[in-house]
């Protein structure tokens, strides 16, 4: 497979949020005005000015505490991005797919799109919208950095080796190898949609315990009518561009 991919080994993530802050720093994004809402997780959700968010979930096993799951959420840069398929129906310059890296990029022309349609098309609930400008935003894989031979800001900041970035084929190999190692002591370990996305998470338990949209799934009715239509005609379309 061409392009670049991330491997996010959640067995090593300590939710230090270095990635969350590094993203804001590189992108020069302002801080949100937050309040503690009874959780370490903040901001509460992704937003037009927050592309990367470490989600924290306290999971229970009956009435017993089980695990504190950390999920550094970001755009998965789908191999066949449904957001682009839907977006192209309105304006084919709004969402671009970088040929070299595979990054899915939102441009200024996203203001010409129907935000709800785009958000609904995303199996991972990533795109966010600015009401004032009607622009949409999300992670762009630090395409500017990557095109210049640098690591994405989040990957560079990661102290524990949770995040790796590189050529997609190699990353997939690393992910599969690591999965085998982890399965020895965590039999439920899994890779999230490894063949569909460029951001592959390794979870040590059911991915859904980490976050509702950790993996795409048919049981969550996310795909809009237009997206389903787009998906149906996808093979006929050029994959990149």
């Amino acid at each position: 497979m061409q392009g670049k991919s991330f491997f996010v080994d959640l067995t090593k993530c300590t939710a230090c949020r270095g990635c969350q802050v590094a993203c804001k720093q590189w992108k020069k994004l302002p801080a949100e005005e937050t309040r503690n809402w009874g959780s370490f997780q903040n901001p509460k959700d992704l937003s037009f000015i927050t592309y990367k968010l470490v989600r924290m979930t306290e999971a229970m096993d009956g009435d017993k505490f089980k695990q504190w799951y950390f999920f550094p959420d970001q755009c998965r840069h789908c191999i066949y991005p449904p957001c682009k398929m839907v977006g192209d129906m309105f304006d084919d310059q709004a969402i671009l797919h970088d040929e070299e890296t595979g990054a899915v990029l939102f441009t200024e022309a996203t203001k010409n799109l129907d935000f709800e349609e785009i958000r609904m098309s995303c199996p991972y609930d990533i795109p966010r919208w600015d009401e004032a400008s009607n622009l949409q935003s999300k992670c762009d894989m630090c395409n500017d950095r990557v095109q210049n031979g640098l690591l994405p800001a989040c990957v560079l900041s990661c102290p524990t080796g949770t995040m790796q970035f590189g050529d997609s084929d190699e990353i997939l190999e690393i992910a599969k190898k690591r999965l085998e190692e982890v399965k020895k002591y965590k039999p439920n370990a899994a890779l999230t949609d490894p063949n569909d996305v460029r951001v592959i998470f390794l979870t040590s338990d059911n991915p859904r315990e980490y976050f509702r949209y950790a993996v795409a799934s048919a049981d969550i009715p996310k795909l809009s009518r237009k997206a389903a239509l787009a998906k149906a005609i996808a093979p006929a379309r050029q994959v990149f561009g």
Binding site: T14, V21, K24, M60, P159, T160
Partner: protein
């Protein structure tokens, strides 16, 4: 740290207790995760399930302040099941030493206790000696008076039932913990401990760490790769500041501070540790060379015997530690105070007492990057500016990345940093401030005269200031670094080599006691030699043996003499063969040691490996501490109990406390039924002076919070996100509640114990809705050895705001 951060990856078992490294030392987790990848077991023991616990293989909760019962139980487990590393214990520790028959322990007290002064006369905490003065030993460890047997007797009371009853940790968890950790006693295995303020900030803090040090010695885990006793420093350069004697009881490089009863250098030198044992290296016997060289560094033109008289002297027994200083400040005993890179009004225990103390000063100088609770104390909560007489001066210092100099990490690596951006506006470096302060004081002396000008007028500035530059650019950290390394004051012949005057000393082995060498800090000797600035080295070259354990001898420089694993001679048997050949630190190749820099180059068996103790053996029996040669459990100075099952002594009988303050403390007080504790989070740093002004960090942790268990939430009608008030007799804070199953109530001694945990990162100055410092709640009581305050266990009440 005896070891260093990379070395964590060599461990078979990492115990994280009294620390929360994933959150507070995030970079360390790179190596912790590498260890795990290589098969290590990670153990997290903490009153709360933390981000560290989330990545560990094992989590055990415990009641805050019961570390000694838990660790004492582990000592008993190791001894009962013969899991100790016998050769190591016999050859390298004082287990075989015969103790003075008059030594004893009864009901929480060791022999020699004086209730009047709350101190010990340690005469009986001594060893039986032969006619040469060497300790008598029983290598069979059977003599009832030998350290091993006394230790066994002491910890007999630390049964798993009693530990469970006291700590609230379940018996099954305790057993699993003990079994897992004790397995590292196998000669080729290593286990390590990562601890921090969760251990030091108790009135039994030093004894908690001693208990762990004893465990490490029993299991042969000191000196080897992946072992050691590893204190995680809370600031990037705390190790460096300690090395330079930021504390009152030492002068640079761990020499005792001169006391007024030691009037002359000769008298000071007469207290140099001595050993009659020819096999003991007794490294501290070299101390006269180090003090003479230090004096020469401070006063190059004076004879050390004269310049010794310049040094300020503490009175015998005088305590100038933090809590005592602020107590004296409160009593109006001194007039001025420099708060340099500190925020005591938020970081000091019993913050109200600290803030009141500041108001008794005539002047206060604050050098800090941002406004903070100390600089603005006079307009803080409860203060009437019209009534505060203190004049406050604020100096704008350069930020860390704007200064050149060294930073010493927990693993003793002294790493050189270059200056990055230029300081903003009128900001200048701390060094420039100190140098200019000296010059202004000198000018005043010259103008007005004054008592005893010599120590000020003669102080060495030529090795500090660059004469080609002007204030504030003349302070030269390179010169200071060279001075710390030391140089020859005149030509000195050592063996066949003559070292020229003015050249850098190659190492502290060349320092002299006659004033012919100057050295600002003997442990830093070797950092900047004739070869150049070794701290700036970034060379990854290593031998295969070094690569095997992640040792980079050419990357920066570590004190002492670039040794990366301290006490490494103990990683080999008395023939020089590594106990763990697959991760050897050093090895005797028949003619020399290879691998790391050994603790002295003597052939195997020629000297005992613990060269920093006078006797050359590691101390299972520690006769030097204020509160006893063995650790013993006592409840915190504030606790929910009137008694505990180890003795009839409720608290540490030697703890530091202040007259009249017991009324501000809650023991078994129904008004304050919950155990309070404080901690840090990844997103903020210390009292938050730097991080609270960083918007992205405030975004991620906007306000102070209080973590409680769901049962306590129900009991008090508190839900996650509610504003709550936490209070005790010293103060109260407002914070946001996080009701979480990561905390669970514990059953201990017939009571249900709920904990209230909060951070100490916030303060009233900024952000305005962040909440005030949780140190308003913590008590000004301290460990009798270090005088560190007990901020990890105290009593509070919590209610909905």
């Amino acid at each position: 740290m005896t070891n260093h951060y990379i070395d964590l990856m060599n461990s078979d078992c990492i115990l994280m207790m009294g620390a929360n490294p994933a959150e507070n030392h995030p970079i360390s987790f790179k190596w912790v995760m590498k260890a795990k990848e290589k098969g290590a077991t990670l153990l997290s023991v903490d009153p709360r399930f933390t981000r560290t616990s989330a990545r560990s293989d094992f989590f055990m909760d415990m009641r805050s302040g019961t570390d000694i019962p838990i660790l004492g139980g582990l000592i008993k487990y190791i001894l009962d099941n013969n899991l100790y590393f016998k050769d190591y214990v016999v050859n390298y520790t004082n287990a075989s030493f015969l103790v003075n028959p008059d030594f004893g322990f009864d009901d929480g007290l060791f022999t020699g206790y004086d209730p009047e002064t709350a101190t010990y006369d340690k005469t009986t905490w001594s060893f039986q000696t032969d006619d040469q003065g060497i300790a008598k030993k029983d290598p069979s460890l059977q003599d009832p008076n030998c350290v091993f047997q006394l230790m066994k007797k002491h910890f007999e009371r630390y049964t798993i039932d009693r530990v469970n009853e006291t700590s609230g940790s379940s018996k099954a968890k305790l057993e699993e913990f003990y079994k897992t950790y004790a397995a590292t006693g196998a000669p080729d295995k290593s286990g390590t401990i990562m601890y921090a303020m969760g251990w030091t900030q108790h009135t039994t803090g030093v004894q908690i760490i001693r208990a762990m040090a004893m465990i490490q010695l029993l299991l042969g885990n000191v000196g080897n790769a992946g072992g050691g006793v590893n204190a995680l420093r809370g600031e990037s350069n705390v190790q460096g500041s300690t090395d330079q004697a930021l504390l009152f009881h030492i002068i640079p490089a761990y020499m005792p501070a001169p006391r007024s009863n030691l009037e002359s250098l000769e008298a000071y030198n007469a207290t140099t540790p001595k050993s009659p044992d020819p096999k003991s290296a007794n490294w501290w016997q070299n101390r006269p060379k180090y003090i003479a060289s230090l004096l020469k560094a401070m006063y190059p033109d004076q004879d050390p015997a004269v310049s010794y008289s310049y040094l300020p002297k503490l009175d015998p027994g005088q305590n100038c530690s933090w809590l005592v200083l602020f107590d004296h400040m409160n009593q109006g005993k001194f007039r001025g105070y420099f708060a340099w890179g500190q925020n005591p009004a938020a970081s000091g225990a019993d913050s109200q007492k600290t803030r009141d103390g500041l108001s008794k000063l005539d002047w206060l100088v604050v050098a800090n990057v941002f406004d903070n609770e100390t600089a603005s104390f006079w307009k803080g909560p409860g203060m009437n500016p019209a009534e505060v007489k203190t004049e406050v001066f604020i100096l704008p210092p350069a930020v860390f990345c704007e200064k050149e100099g060294s930073v010493t990490n927990s693993g003793r690596w002294v790493q050189w940093r270059y200056a990055g951006p230029k300081p903003m506006g009128d900001c200048i470096t701390d060094g420039a401030m100190a140098l200019e302060l000296l010059r202004r004081i000198r000018a005043l002396y010259a103008e007005e005269g004054g008592a005893f000008p010599d120590p000020i007028m003669n102080l060495n500035t030529k090795d500090v200031a660059d004469p080609t530059k002007k204030f504030p650019h003349d302070f030269d950290s390179k010169r200071v670094a060279k001075l710390l390394n030391g140089y020859f004051v005149k030509d000195v012949k050592i063996g066949d080599t003559t070292y020229k005057a003015g050249t850098q000393v190659p190492s502290f082995a060349m320092l002299q006691d006659d004033g012919s060498t100057a050295c600002g800090n003997w442990v830093y000797s070797g950092a900047w030699t004739e070869a150049g600035n070794n701290m700036a080295r970034r060379d990854k070259t290593q031998t295969e043996m070094q690569a095997n354990i992640g040792l980079f001898p050419n990357w920066s420089w570590a004190w002492p003499v670039n040794r990366r694993v301290a006490y490494n001679r103990a990683s080999c048997d008395p023939q020089g063969k590594p106990y763990a050949p697959h991760k050897a630190v050093i090895e005797w190749d028949g003619s020399k040691w290879v691998g790391d820099v050994p603790d002295g180059g003597w052939a195997p068996g020629e000297k005992h490996p613990f060269i920093m103790t006078a006797e050359g053996y590691a101390r299972l029996f520690g006769p030097g501490l204020a509160d006893g040669p063995f650790p013993e459990h006592f409840e915190a100075m504030e606790c929910p109990f009137e008694e505990h099952p180890f003795s009839s002594r409720l608290h540490n009988p030697t703890a530091l406390e202040f007259t009249g303050e017991a009324v501000k403390r809650a023991v078994c007080d129904p008004r304050y039924p919950f155990v309070g504790t404080t901690y840090r989070v990844t997103e903020h740093w210390q009292s938050g002076v730097l991080t609270r002004w960083t918007p992205w960090l405030v975004e991620s942790m906007p306000q102070n919070f209080v973590e409680i268990d769901p049962e306590l939430g129900k009991l008090r009608g508190i839900e996650s996100g509610d504003k709550v008030i936490v209070e005790n007799m010293r103060g109260k804070i407002e914070a946001v509640a996080i009701v979480t199953p990561r905390l669970q109530p514990l059953k201990a001694m017939g009571q249900t114990i709920h904990m209230v945990g909060t951070t100490w990162h916030f303060g009233w100055v900024h952000p305005t809705d962040g909440g005030d410092s949780s140190n308003l709640l913590t008590p000004a009581v301290g460990d009798p050895n270090t005088f560190i305050p007990e901020t990890k266990t105290f009593m509070v009440n919590i209610r909905k705001a």
